[in-house]
Amino acid sequence: MKPRSCFSPLALLLLFLAAVVPHAALAANVFPDWIIQAAASKLQPYPSNTGAVVLLDDRLVTVAPDGRATERERRVLKILRPRGREYAEIVASYSKDEKLDFFHAWSIGPDGHQYTVKDQEVHDEALGEWGILYDDLRAKTVTPPGADPGGIVAYEVERHVATYGAEEETWDFQRDIPGVRWILEVDLPASWNQYAAWLHHAPVSASEVAPNHWRWELNDIPAIDLTDVPMAPSPYALAARMVVHYSATPLPTGDQRWTEIGNWYDTLASSRTEAPQEIAAKSRELGGAADFKTRIQGIAGFMQREIRYVGIEIGIGGLQPHPAADVFKYRYGDCKDKATLLIAMLNAVGVRATWVLVDTHRGFIDPALPSIEGNHAIAAIEMPAGYSDPELRAVVTARTGKHYLIFDPTDTYTPIGLLGFHLQGSYGILVAGNDSQVIQLPILPPDADTLDRTASFALNADGTLKGTVTETRSGEAARRYRRLYNEEGEKQQHEEIERRLQRDFSSFTVEANDAKNAREMSKSVVLQYSLTANGYGQPTGDLLLIRPRVLGRNAQPYNDKPRIYPIDLGETGTWRDSIDVALPADYIVDDMPAPVDLDVGFASYKSDVKANGNVLHYSREYVVRELDLAPEKSADVSKLMGVINADENSSAVLKKK
């Protein structure tokens, strides 16, 4: 899915850097006053890593009585340090339906010289997005002269706004560099309505500068700075922004606005689910079973296996899916196409399903900010009343009381019933006509993502370790290996194991590796490999030191720096190790690490080392129960990572009998 106002990193950059100047001004070759005035702005003492600052971002949205809108944006930016030169590249995006009326740029060199960019200096590029084979997204780009520290870059752009019926304007005023002055004006036809919703910023009242012409102004917006911030959420989830909705008809707010948006999308997309006979026949073939789970598993498996991800998005095609019949016929489509075909096929076997419009940056969509913005489409499958199944865990309950199983048909290696970690806890729009609403996608419990690693090794007196490892993986822990053993060859599979073991051994060989159930989504992946590690036991004096953990890491880099941003733990799950090391016959255990048992609420970690005869047994369990933590939990995270790190690096001491 490609929303009108994309917020992929690329799209954000484009919006961030869009530019132009009125033809009249150019014709007169007059250097615009608004640039000179902005250039005189008084700057705050910014952090030393600030490369550039937005002196002015002034946006005017003008809506004609027929609903057609244009957006004029002026931006002035000052380069503060050499690294800020990257912000001097101006990128003004446009598309078939969002044409540019004009695009020009200016600059002021550090020496005060004023430059006006000539049209022939402007490039025109296809932008392209990951996974999109063809789209109509393009940009005018240019780097004006004088882009050195102290220099000013400015531009003005006017483009047509394609709302496709969902009239809203996103004001994304917080970026990775600070801003001095941000202005948004919305000029509406008489009697039109508007309302603004805010996220991560206190609401600011608009002033009516002319009849139904509204103006918001913000000053001194700090940057989102994630430099050296471990476990950081997506910057798109952290940045403050405002969405102003406008309409010729009365505008509902809050949940009702979410419903309107969902209803609008339903109207746009529902006709695309019409299924010709071939789809119905195939659906019955795949999902003809009586049992609900078996029915949906068959069709879900077909979507995951047989429909390639290929994005072709032109104009409204960024929002509206291709007809299910085409997707079925050609066996390819993007996320919304795959969701649409899934809906059509499920409908054909009597299962109701619909779209959920989401974003892959958890936290970007927020209930407080009704909007069509998002970058992904998945499906919600209505479950029969009273139905439950222990394997169908990604279930939400709508306010209608209906239960929906959330499923991402684009995610090839997460079985239906579960949900990829990147979507868990996110919000999205459940598209259900007048029952549309914003929903939170489920956060799966720790036992939905598991790794059970067992290993049995024998240690020789020369320090060589030899043995076999078995890893039983389910949920997210299995996904990577399902992909590896479905898509890659033996060489790549072997190398993947070798690269992982490189973190734990200086010298080793992997004798064999094998994965069971990689293609059987309903079963855990069982990965087995044998290895020999030379010099694993380190002789020191009469002692032999070994690391009881042997292999596998849970610790993540963290630091004790003051924390202002939330903490993203990535995924919930349970990861266990049970490792046996048979010791050389003439050695006994002299000293061992102390057991560890730490529970910080959102996660727990415990480990233990025991000597049973001549076998050293190490066991541990790491459980993560939450995804996102408040910054106040930083000390706990630091403590947790410190404990895991210490345990993972601890040694047991063997001595000769």
Binding site: S48, R81, P82, R83, G109, H113, Y115, K118, H123, D124, E125, A126, L133, Y134, R138, P145, A147, D148, T227, R308, V310, I312, K329, Y330, R331, Y332, T412, N486, E487, E488, G489, E490, K491, Q492, H494, E495, E498, L501, Q502, R503, S506, S507, T509, Q538, T540, L545, D560, D591, M592, A594, S607, M641, G642, V643, I644, N645, A646, D647, N649, S650
Partner: protein
């Protein structure tokens, strides 16, 4: 894709061809064999995502078309990606047409491509336009055979000699190439003419060769069983190691003739830019008559190093130069405006050296970080950066004044152990740059650490860097600034620290003093080591305690390129609190990979202090694949030794066992 453009002389009458489809020029679709339909794996390429059953490329410079026909077998899920095709080409004089395709399922079912390819303008700048034809094949499954073909046509006043790279990401069962060269009179780029003379540079599998048909006046090449390109870490640039056949039109009859001739034009332009006559007055501002030749050269080098190098800051536009009244025609203009790009500054240095009486020359080399020079591929575009060659005491000495902050008499590693073209008194010739000794790049790390009675660690660590190690960070600071450098450097150091240790960048010394050691100093806090009931284990080598062996994989097919030789020395001193006794230290070790690398680790105990010395030197950077096991073994032994801990015992266990070490989990 088109690589060489020559315009016909205006007097040439051109033929206009009307082509409506690739089908008109290519064979009909090939019927798949039962074996092709049913195959699930290619024994010669186990695990391959897909393979080419056939690549058929026909370049016809008489008809001004290149026709491509591909048959591809999908073997895994990943192989389905090859159904998506984006064929890029230069717009204007070129176009793609006649796209046809089909998918054949393993049961023989044929699904024709009935869609319309999308035409995408990738980039448009002035009159330049780069385009792509985009399409995807329908109903692709694992086991499908994908077939497509298209025609690249170009205007009748253009010829395009083909470049056939036989090796790519996929195994090729069979490939057929044909080239029908133009027989017209062509311009040679310098106002000369040539009568369709064709040459090629080829590296082909054993047993295959390019065959010329005198009757048909065309070349063909048939190959089969071509393995996919290897993809291994630390590989040299791959273009030089893959099978290929590169054609070009040329007036030259021999390699020497080509490089001599093209080099002559290049050298003339270089000397015109240097315009040494204008530099005498500048040279006299820099040196004094009393200076020795060595002093003069050093002063000139230092003077050029002070100028802004726009290759590391920002190239200025014509509008800026115009606004500032600057016209860059000669090296003297570079001196006047106090800025220039890497090649301009190199030429300025050479010009000033000449003005000071030195025999000085410019050389242009292929940068080793992206490619290697191929003498028999007569294409000037394989050459990248200028370097300077000055005769000092009768010997050629190499300089890199275009590489800001390169040390005097040293080259950036990408300009070492490579080839290019240089000026000599007798014209332009192919030459080779030397590879420096391991002393040319050094890293000295010192750590002075103290474990406090409460278990916390405090101290400082310092990095002394020279050669390529220093150059990397100095150039980073040029492109960014010192604050950004501090953040980046601190993050680099932090990644290698033992668990529990936090570093904070304090300062740099010598950041812009290219002739001095770059010194970085960081403060250390936190805790380190792990505990058991009776002991504490400290990372004895400290800096390398968490490193991984450089090579993990068992098998190797390609040579190894480690960029540049270097010498590293670490000195670590850890002061212990009274609560600890030193129970044991790792054994002193010394070993070598003869003729190539050396390692030494020494550990000493003094009252309350653990000290370690680690020396690592790598003298050779290019290794054959056969040498990989020995090289890997050397690195693994180094890594194993680096990870041995110092073992401490508690003298007063009850008082310190709780806090001496990292995350002493309670």
């Amino acid at each position: 894709m088109p690589i060489a453009l020559r315009r016909f002389l205006p007097t040439v009458i051109t033929t206009i061809m009307a082509l409506t489809s690739a089908h008109a020029l290519a064979d009909a679709w090939i019927k798949p064999t039962p074996e092709e339909l049913q195959m699930t794996e290619e024994p010669a390429a186990p695990g391959a995502a897909a393979i080419y059953l056939l690549r058929d490329e026909r370049a016809d410079d008489k008809l001004h078309v290149h026709i491509t026909y591909v048959r591809l077998k999908v073997l895994t899920e990943k192989g389905k990606d090859y159904a998506d095709q984006e064929i890029s080409y230069q717009g204007g004089q070129y176009k793609i047409f006649g796209v046809e395709g089909r998918t054949i399922h393993s049961d023989g079912t044929v699904i024709p491509f009935t869609g319309k390819p999308y035409q995408k303008v990738l980039e448009k700048s002035g009159k330049e336009k780069y385009k792509a034809t985009v399409f995807t094949l329908p109903d692709v499954q694992v086991g499908s055979i994908l077939e497509y073909r298209y025609v690249l046509s170009y205007e009748s006043n253009v010829v395009v000699s083909p470049r056939w790279y036989l090796q790519g990401p996929l195994y090729v069962r069979k490939a057929h190439f044909q080239f029908i060269p133009s027989d017209r009179v062509l311009e040679d780029g310098h106002g000369g003419v040539m009568q369709g003379r064709v040459a090629h540079s080829a590296y082909l599998p054993t047993g295959s060769s390019i065959v010329y048909s005198p009757a048909g006046k065309y070349y063909t090449l048939d190959v089969e069983k071509i393995p996919a390109s290897p993809d291994e870490e630390f590989m040299p640039p791959m273009h030089n190691y893959s099978f290929r056949a590169l054609f070009y039109y040329t007036i030259a009859r021999t390699t020497d003739e080509y490089w001599g001739s093209e080099g002559k034009y290049w050298s003339k332009n270089v000397d015109k830019f240097i315009d040494a006559g204008k530099l005498s007055a500048i040279e006299s501002q820099i040196v004094t008559p009393a200076d020795s030749p060595a002093q003069k050269l050093q002063k000139i080098y230092a003077a050029v190093m002070k100028l802004e190098n726009t290759s590391f800051t920002r190239e200025h536009t014509g509008a800026e130069d115009k606004a500032q009244g600057i016209k860059v025609k000669t090296a003297a203009d570079i001196w006047e405006q106090k800025r220039g790009n890497r090649d301009e500054l190199t030429r300025l240095f050479v010009g000033l050296a000449r003005a000071a009486g030195f025999k000085a020359y410019v050389g242009v080399v292929t940068n080793r970080d992206r490619n290697l020079f191929l003498a028999d591929y007569l294409d000037w575009s394989q050459l990248d950066d200028d370097i300077a060659i000055v005769q000092v005491d009768g010997k050629d000495q190499f300089f890199d004044p275009g590489e800001r902050y390169a040390e005097y008499g040293e080259l950036h590693w990408k300009h070492t152990a490579t080839q290019g073209i240089r000026q000599t008194d007798k014209g332009a010739v192919i030459f080779e740059t030397p590879i420096p000794g391991y002393q040319s790049t050094s890293q000295l790390r010192n750590a002075y650490l103290e474990i406090q009675p409460d278990g916390k660690v405090r101290g400082t660590i310092s990095f002394g860097l020279t050669g390529n190690k220093a150059l990397r960070w100095r150039e980073f600071a040029l492109r960014n600034d010192e604050d950004a450098l501090k953040v980046e450097f601190e993050q680099m150091v932090q990644r290698d620290m033992p668990p529990g240790i936090q570093v904070k960048m304090d300062h740099f010394l010598g950041l812009t003093d290219w002739d001095k050691t770059l010194l970085g100093v960081l403060n250390v806090t936190g805790s380190m080591g792990t505990t058991t009931a009776k002991r504490v284990f400290l990372p004895a080598t400290f800096f390398e305690a968490t490193s991984h062996p450089l090579f993990a994989l068992d098998k190797r097919t390609m040579p190894i390129d480690l960029d540049y030789p270097l010498a590293m020395k670490d000195m670590v001193s850890i002061k212990l609190p009274p609560a600890f006794d030193i129970e044991s230290l790792p054994k002193d070790t010394e070993f070598a990979y003869p003729q190539n690398a050396y390692y030494q680790a020494k550990f000493t105990r003094e009252p309350g202090v653990v000290k370690s010395l680690r020396i690592f030197a790598m003298g050779n950077v290019i290794y054959k694949a056969e040498e990989y096991p020995a090289l890997k073994d050397f690195y693994q032994k180094v890594n194993a030794k680096d990870k041995e801990p110092a073992v401490l015992g508690f003298t007063q266990a009850s008082s310190v066992a709780g806090g001496a070490a990292t995350g002493n989990a309670q």
